[in-house]
């Protein structure tokens, strides 16, 4: 699913590690678990809480309810209205963010050690006693509607919408999780309350923390922060049945360039071949200037400013996706090159030199991702969602190093499916790409 591609990659690729990284599993007196990386260098803590399910839990006819609900959590809690809550939070110099996506809701908090107790008490209010005042609902609904309107004229958003609908059909991945103008206008306060009850519960909760907090402090804080939440929510969403039928769709949109989005089937993060697939993706369309597609489309031919691919291993479906933008008169050539590269890689033609370069990149990038308390808290959540062991950071690079040229070429042949490659073009390409 294209919208969430980059979020998912961040979780997956997030591969610690500080030289002596040591993650602790903390369990509160009432049994709430969290992973913690202590670091007392800077007097603040980052806390990341993820509730799985997310906007895919929207009930029939209520598309956009979880998205709107999530945006409203910070708009007043307990005896504080939206203004009062924002002032209380800012007086503590804490920051809280609440974001929803197709697989979950993420709460990211950052608070100073000097007023940690007050900050956590305020966050607990938001999570356990959000007000969902009608005036806040109407105000934030206006912002959501403005966003939906903006997306209707955003070529990237248009491309993602067309592509997702074709691939995922009626599964929640097949539609925009902000909803439509019509569905959002119809949402009532009761719908918001229902979405909150469906989505925010401890049975789907994963927690990571990093920074200036001991295991004992965190364990003691978790019950006060999250003990008031309901134990169960709505059943988690079903797996998607994606249909990558191949072919190319062109949607007219004014402007000098076209946005091109492409997608085919992916691989689950728990598949034994996933690490090899990650190397294949890195060689093909990864983050380096030297990846094949960057070399062929940008460096050799000047067809685009940038191109990349990624493996989106979502909770309920997988895909391999990518995108670029190119001038309308260059799109057809760029698509031809893309298809040729896709077909070439599908034969398993990775060279030892390419593999070695990609491996040293992935191994070397490992410690570099361990970048600040906020990033680490998010990594700890991603590891738990992927079902990785707590000592995964110590073994991960060995998994990369162990892969041979035969492994990656076998997986390239398994992964790359030129017939499935589904291309969506939004713009006015001329000549028309095939």
């Amino acid at each position: 699913m294209i919208r969430a591609l980059f979020i998912t990659l961040a979780l997956l690729a997030a591969s610690p590690l500080r030289a002596e990284v040591s993650i602790t599993e903390v369990t509160s007196p009432n049994g709430i678990k969290a992973w913690l990386l202590e670091d007392h260098t800077i007097p603040f803590t980052a806390l990341n809480i993820r509730f799985q399910g997310g906007t895919s839990l929207d009930r029939a006819g209520k598309r956009g309810a979880v998205n709107l609900m999530t945006a409203l959590i910070e708009e007043g809690a307990g005896d504080l209205d939206a203004q009062g809550f924002a002032k209380a939070r800012d007086d503590l110099a804490a920051s809280f963010s609440f974001r929803s996506d197709a697989d979950g809701i993420t709460v990211s908090a950052r608070f100073l050690t000097e007023n940690r107790t007050q900050a956590l008490a305020l966050l607990a209010q938001a999570l356990t006693a959000p007000r969902f005042d009608q005036d806040a609902i109407d105000r934030v609904r206006g912002q959501v509607l403005a966003g939906i309107e903006a997306d209707a004229k955003d070529p990237s958003a248009i491309a993602a919408r067309l592509s997702n609908a074709a691939i995922y059909g009626t599964h929640p991945y097949g539609s925009d999780d902000a909803g439509t103008a019509e569905s959002v206008k119809a949402l009532t306060r009761q719908d918001i309350l229902t979405a909150f009850a469906d989505a925010i519960a401890t049975d789907r909760m994963v927690i990571g923390a990093a920074g200036d907090m001991t295991a004992a402090d965190l364990g003691a804080a978790l019950d006060g922060l999250l003990g008031g939440l309901p134990k169960t929510g709505a059943p988690l969403p079903a797996k998607a049945s994606p249909n990558f039928q191949g072919g190319i769709t062109v949607q007219d949109f004014p402007g000098p360039q076209s946005t091109v989005l492409f997608s085919q089937s992916g691989m689950n993060v728990n598949d034994p071949d996933f690490m090899a697939a990650s190397l294949v993706n890195e060689i093909f369309g990864g983050g380096r200037f030297t990846a094949r597609l960057m070399t062929e489309l940008r460096d050799k031919r000047g067809l685009t400013y940038g191109v990349g691919t990624g493996l989106a291993s979502m909770a309920y479906g997988e895909s391999m996706d990518g995108s670029f933008q190119a001038s309308n008169e260059k799109v057809a050539e760029a698509v031809d090159v893309l298809r040729a590269e896709w077909a070439k890689l599908a034969t398993g033609d990775i060279t030892q030199a390419e593999l070695d370069a990609a491996k040293t990149y992935m191994v070397g990038a490992y410690p570099l991702r361990w970048d600040g308390n906020g990033a680490i808290a998010s990594i700890l959540v991603g590891m738990q969602i992927n079902g990785f062991a707590i000592d995964y950071p110590k073994t991960r690079n060995d998994l990369v190093r162990a892969l041979t040229l035969d492994d990656v070429n076998r997986v390239a042949r398994r992964l790359l499916q030129p017939d499935q490659l589904q291309i969506t073009v939004v713009g006015q390409p001329n000549p028309t790409p095939k």
Partner: protein, 442 residues
Amino acid sequence: MQPVFRIAAVMGALALPAFGEPVTEFALDNGLKIVVIEDHRAPVVTQMVWYKTGRADEPAGQSGIAHFFEHLMFKGTDTVEAGAFSAIVAANGGQDNAFTSDDYTAYFQRVPADQLGEMMRLEADRMANLNLSPENVATELQVILEERGQRVDSDPSALFREQMSAAQYLNHPYGLPVIGWLHEMQQLNRDKALDFYARHYAPNNAVLVVAGDVDPAAVRDLAQIHYGPLAPSETLPPRLRPSEPPQLAARRLTMADARVAQPYIMRSYLAPERNAGDQKQAAAITILAEVLGGSGTTSVLSRALQFDSQIAVYSGAGYDGVAVDPTTFSLIVVPSAGVSLADAEKALDETLAKFMQTGVDPADLARIKTQVRAAEIYARDDAGDLARSYGAALAVGLTVQDVQDWPAVLDAVTAEDVMAAARAVLIPEQSVTGWLETKASP
């Protein structure tokens, strides 16, 4: 709720450096300034080289050459093939890139700390020994044209901002876009690029910032080995840009584009920048931006336009004083569905007028000061961000001392200072008001 509009990303933010971390400053005999920021939490280092050369230092008629040249710095030297520098960074798991602004061009690598010497060797090499093939230059020209297509010509908000800047500056080159005007970009070539290189790229026009798990003495030794042998330029042009005449007329512009989904108003005012040893007024303007439009909930504009009335779905204020010459203070209002731009502008003006009468709410000021102090702590979490703060400041002529003084200067700002800054900046004759509207597709 997070701001819906991408334009919000350029507004607001205190963007504060911190001084909790050890910072060391020195210079080589050839004039290269060096700043070392220690952060020993992870075995990682960021090297940044900042050239005191940007869009506003370009020859007339060659808008975009500074940015184009930034791309060409990746195209190889006498001894390092095109693309090889990036490949070496990637082989170490690192990241590299570069960026250009009005006032500077910066190149950076983030790599394992033990690779710093190798990064210095490569960065020093391309400061002096670039070797550009005509083919690579021609292809890269196509890449920057695509970049303009993607970042500007496909985005009506970006086109609108170009028009706003061009209207704001009557004489100063800040009115031209960093990426360049398309018709001038198309005329850029290898000779122009090499002239630009010869004029601006030299150790005495650069600042090296090293941040991460490093020892300042070791950085000094490595820098001496790699950058020390580079000869300084004796023909560096002074940074004297054409300056603004008195601005006597408020300007208005209206732009319509079929791709606009959400019309909005932007207003910009000419505003003074931070100056070495003299940052008080800029600090007051920074706080003014926070008071007026910093918080999406509690700022003056948000309260008036989104809470007390439902005129807007988003409002904000922005100011960044890190510049060589006078910069801008900006306001934005995105009206709610059914509210006209005229009514939104009227509400904005009424809100500003009322603010000029009632002044700063002391509770607002206290809350912003609390966040200023906390920002110093949070900023220490990202050594790369600190490197950018120091690098940008030094590249525009501020000093390490100015950067370290900045939080205290902000903290000393009084309510009277904020209102004096508002009176000095919010002058209609020095403003541009722009409406970005939608229009029916032809």
